[in-house]
């Protein structure tokens, strides 16, 4: 299976000299095509910075980052572009637009035809249980906004989905449906990277990565990780890994 994302020895921080803040230090990660990759990590661990590097928004300071078979920042790279669907951690919607206008705007940015946008809109509203398309985004509830934000990322059916905490504030029934849908599109070849706080949610992923302070502590299939460290749950495994990394830091 070819790699969807291959990050090796990535270094990225902000500022220079005394003001320098290191965010990612020698970060490596591998995501296969057509898999769901669950990235677990607390706020401020560098998840968003890493996603922005993959999106070509931030340049890596060292290391190599290849996305969908091409180095980021090269002309061959299809990301950023219509190959990727991105749902930022912030809701990232224009509050004054209606749901329909929001989808129309993003559809146009992706060069979709009006007909295609209309078809996808109908399906997404049904699937994500969204209010009528004429409703203004600013007047939606938190959960509805979160789902509209997800709808934007799914709109143009990209090969690669980067979802930064898409299930915060979404009810369990709908979260189950979202995961079911992600599974379906992953089976059809879409690669999904999903960041989350919920460990039980991450255990449904094909591969999980635990991120802490800008490094990936462990990466692998949930079952294999549990066996490797001799625990019966993913939660215990991660607790174990966190403790071990604390000990290393002290030494």
């Amino acid at each position: 299976m070819p790699m969807a994302i291959r990050v090796e020895g990535l270094v990225r921080g902000y500022g220079r000299g005394k003001k320098r803040i290191e965010v990612l230090q020698d970060y490596s990660m591998r995501v296969e095509r057509g898999e769901i990759y669950g990235l677990l990590g607390p706020s401020g661990c560098g998840k968003t910075t890493m996603l922005k590097v993959i999106l070509g928004r931030l340049r890596p300071e060292a290391g190599s980052v290849a996305v969908l078979g091409a180095e980021v920042g090269t002309t061959e790279c299809t990301v950023p572009g219509s190959a990727v669907g991105y749902s930022p951690q912030e809701i990232a919607l224009y509050e004054d637009l209606t749901i329909a206008e929001t989808l129309l705007f993003h559809g146009r940015l992706q060069q979709m035809l009006p007909q295609q946008i209309a078809e996808r809109q109908e399906w997404l509203i049904e699937f994500l249980d969204l209010p009528p398309a004429g409703r203004q985004v600013g007047k939606l509830s938190g959960g509805q906004k979160r789902r509209t934000s997800l709808a934007v990322a799914l709109l143009h059916q990209p090969e690669l989905l980067l979802l930064d905490e898409p299930t915060v504030g979404v009810d369990p029934e709908l979260r189950y449906r979202i995961w079911q849908h992600l599974r379906e599109i992953a089976d059809a070849g879409t690669t999904v990277i999903i960041t989350t706080h919920y460990i039980d949610e991450a255990s449904q992923a094909d591969c999980v990565g635990l991120m802490r302070d800008g490094v990936l502590l462990a990466e692998g299939r949930p079952q294999e990780l549990m066996v490797q460290y001799g625990h019966t749950s993913l939660e215990e495994t991660f607790l174990h890994l966190c403790r071990r990394s604390n000990v290393k830091e002290v030494e």
Binding site: L55, V84, P88, A92
Partner: protein
Amino acid sequence: MNLGRVRAIAARKFASLKRDHRTFAFIIIMPAIQILLFGIAIGQPPVGLGVALIGNEATDIDDDLMIKLGASESLIIHDEYTSAEEARSAIGEGELWAAIVVSDNGVIEVHLDNSNQQVSSTIMVEVRNALTEIMEEKGITPPVEIADPVYGDKEPAFINFLAPGIITLVCFMFSLILTTMSFVGERYDGTLDRVFAAGTQPSEVLIGHMIAFTSILIGQVSTVILIAVYGFDIPLNGNPLMVFVLAMLLGWSAMCIGMFISTKATSEFQAIQLNMPFMFLVLLISGILWPVEALPGWLQPISWSLPTTWTAEAFRSIMIRGWGFEQTVVAGAFVYNIVFAAIMLMVAAKSLKTQD
């Protein structure tokens, strides 16, 4: 450059602007109010200035002066004072602005409260006009005669100098205010990240915004010019279309500065503060309140680097002198605004691209 994406961004921004009724009203009505207030408050001669006239029985000038000056709307003539000393102390108490004293040998002395240049100059113009008329009636030719001016009126009105500058200032200021906060929010709420993830170029974002803002700019510029020219009778001897187009170009220059500020500011509050240096530079060194020729040498290049300096000069030339493109001052202003806007747009695009 992908036109589909530019169109999408312009349409989205326009929908947002249209929905924000308060901002929309503010941004159209404020320039109109500003130019209305300017026309009403600035440039009209002051009225009701108290002036003492102290005659002299040895001459017959005082009766004529009384009639001529008494007819002036600006002055209220007091004849109850009998000596120059008495009148001067009344000026000292703030009861009068001036005293006109006719001496034994027919020389006319003017004693002034010279604390307000506009008031003094109004009084002096009235006195000079009255004396010129009296001399003409007596068949005496005045030693200096002002011929018909090549450009402008025989009595140069300050408002005619000021009006093109104020139009420049208002067009610049509101275009800047309109755009200066464009992406301050979007840079931090993730919406811009999403737009970039779709492969959109920074220049496409900027040009999309410019197109949406231009719809408002047309309204602003038209209102300001129509009120100034047709509401206050400010001369427009040249081509009105040229004034309109130049005002639009200036608006675009301001827009590009505004968008640049917007890519740098870390909060909306900071964006407003970053506007201030531009506003003050434009107000003070662009030849809007006082001629550029009066600036010290080292300040001249800074003044001429501002698009407003070129525009104010060109507006004056088009509106008062009636000049067209054949004059460098006019053509230069068009070219400079286009070049300035293009360079500023590139700088803003670069700034929007590099996030850290």
